[in-house]
Symmetry: C2
Subunit: 143 residues, 2 copies
């Protein structure tokens, strides 16, 4: 089966637009403030970095679920750095910092394997040119 992801954008008021996503999410967006856009709204640059960050988390949780590993908490900061590639501006590097909390006694090697596989099999990680680095921290759950 072919999966297709659809989004719609529409100019609203000057450089502010409306975004309607195929899975139901709607929001306003603009350019980032440094490119004459507005603060407080979504941007294309945030969306690209967010897509990688969300995809790594979802792929990791899918893999740990398949191995019956309980993940107590997962959070991650991701930074996308603007640079040049073949003379054009683009996001050249994305660094994701997951912080993962698991139960005492959990096999840490399996968690690290799942993170490596999440980076390897994430649909979005495989859709971008940027160098992708995943640097994680692990914590043990305290009730």
């Amino acid at each position: 089966m072919v999966h297709v992801y659809n989004t719609k954008v529409r100019m609203k008021d000057g450089r502010v637009g409306e975004l309607i996503c195929g899975n139901g999410h709607k929001t306003d967006f603009s350019a980032p403030p440094e490119f004459k856009g507005n603060a407080g709204v979504f941007t294309a640059e945030d969306a690209l970095v967010a897509s990688v960050n969300m995809s790594i988390m979802q792929t990791f949780l899918h893999l740990t679920e398949k191995k019956n590993i309980k993940v107590r908490a997962y959070e991650a900061d991701a930074n996308g750095i603007l640079g040049h590639r073949k003379g054009n501006e683009c996001i050249i590097r994305i660094v994701v910092h997951p912080k993962i909390t698991v139960d005492p006694g959990t096999d840490i090697d399996i968690i690290e394997l799942c993170l490596n596989e999440a980076r390897k099999y994430s649909i979005i990680a495989n859709s971008i040119h940027a160098t992708l680095v995943v640097e994680h921290k692990m914590e043990t759950y305290k009730a």
Copy 2:
């Protein structure tokens, strides 16, 4: 000056997470329904397609503004198609369909030049592997 785009994700309830973007946008997300996620929320796949769609629009509006061309309306559907690249699942093709409304007498060649340049210089278009196709329609504004 180096521009860095930051986003944060956090596991909330099972496979639903919270996304907090550097420019202020917040929303819930999950995997798409076909990958055991929830309908009605944002997804990584929608975010990638949206980032291209938003970036083409913002770059086009920036270019037309620089040339003092009045754009009366802009809307665009974008479809991202899931496929395989080097054996891994990824978004292999994104097709953007802008519909642009301009005043009668506007130089259509300049509009087409701006669209071609938007496709060429869009930060996000230059950050992805997918084949990107932009197929536009033009309309004349009727008061």
